[in-house]
Symmetry: C2
């Protein structure tokens, strides 16, 4: 029984990877770079996008918003005059906890791929399954808010391992928390040594210029990238 | 194709419900009440348990800790001399994002059911799937940290609907956040009108006595409960 279960799951991930590669081929043909943006609920993904998407030097950006239900985040970003498409995962099964490659594929006709250089896919807030399902991205960025505690890399290692950049957000709250940044970085290095990391605050603007430059560099197709499948 | 997928998932949930009922029957026979405790990562489930489990008047408590990996939270609770069993969800598939009834069933032999009145199952940190999988509990409690924002009930409605109590945690940070408590409560009432709710701070102790009394009342088998299956 146990063996059967594992086999089914591997097949599901195989199918996902097949579709992710097809998405990636379409993005490549259109000259669009893709970022998969992930975090726990409320870590500040949308706020960190609001800070930068309207002004990425030389890069036209679009956003694909993933939510279980509603379009609150998409509305916030559309207000910045950036093309935004909404994916809701609630049809069937009370809400999927992640985006998968097929959901993103179903949204491709809604995306003006010919008019953008960079697509940011804002995943469902969750530290587990989004890391297991590629959607066709070039790079993965995760946001970890310091309000979530220092031990999160140890408790959700796959998420912290599966990304190219960790944004350590809500640094404005540091004086009010029992949070030891050195300890967090130690835990991060234990699961993903030397991964790029930036301390930022979407509220005060701390670190936002570095984040803007990082994202703009990904969006410039002339610049090389180490790339997940 | 779509129909086939939905069918499989419904079967999976049916099987889960069957096992959840078997767990519940075993808990009832042992005279143990069960709480399923859920939240996003880092909302403070363990901290809120640390505050109360060693001193629940007239109630002997045990804890079943669910984590993708590691035993950091179980270690914190075991330090309070409370019986704790650890369930890790990482074998197979890179880590399940929730506990299900069968995982809890597999842990039953590790739990001293004859020596406790109340079992708290601390679920994996996630606002989506834990709400979809009953484990045999009498009641469900969820923790929403105010650092996560006011709109969480609208974005993760099933979780906020599936519980009997919402603990609104990290109230100590209110002066430092753009968080409108009235707005959060308005959103909560939009998805689950009149659900029990308490504003608390695991850090300062605000609201902790009410939480302690609520949990102790659940643990006293003589007191009646409205109960999910």
């Amino acid at each position: 029984m146990h063996r059967t279960k594992v086999k089914v799951v591997e097949d599901a991930l195989d199918a996902n990877n097949t579709i992710a590669r097809a998405n990636r081929a379409d993005f490549d043909r259109a000259g669009v770079r893709v970022v998969n943006l992930m975090s726990a609920p409320g870590a500040g993904k949308t706020a960190l996008l609001e800070r930068v998407v309207a002004d990425l030097p030389g890069v036209r950006v679009g956003v694909l918003e993933g939510d279980v239900q509603g379009s609150l985040d998409a509305d916030r970003l559309a207000a910045l005059h950036v093309p935004v498409a909404q994916l809701n995962t609630d049809p069937g099964f009370g809400g999927e906890c992640h985006l998968d490659a097929n959901m993103v594929r179903s949204a491709l006709p809604e995306l003006p791929l010919g008019e953008i250089d960079l697509l940011v896919v804002e995943n469902v807030g969750n530290l587990v399954c989004p890391a297991e399902f590629k959607v066709g991205e070039n790079v993965r960025v995760m946001v970890s808010a310091i309000t979530e505690g220092e031990e999160k890399p140890l408790k959700y290692p796959l998420m912290f391992r599966a990304c190219e950049l960790v944004l350590i957000n809500k640094m404005d709250l540091l004086p009010h928390l029992d949070f030891d940044l050195e300890r967090f970085l130690y835990n991060l290095d234990a699961v993903h040594p030397a991964v790029d990391r930036m301390v930022v605050s979407a509220k005060t603007g701390e670190g936002i210029e570095r984040w803007r430059e990082w994202l703009a560099r990904v969006g410039r197709a002339s610049e090389p990238l180490g790339a997940p499948a």
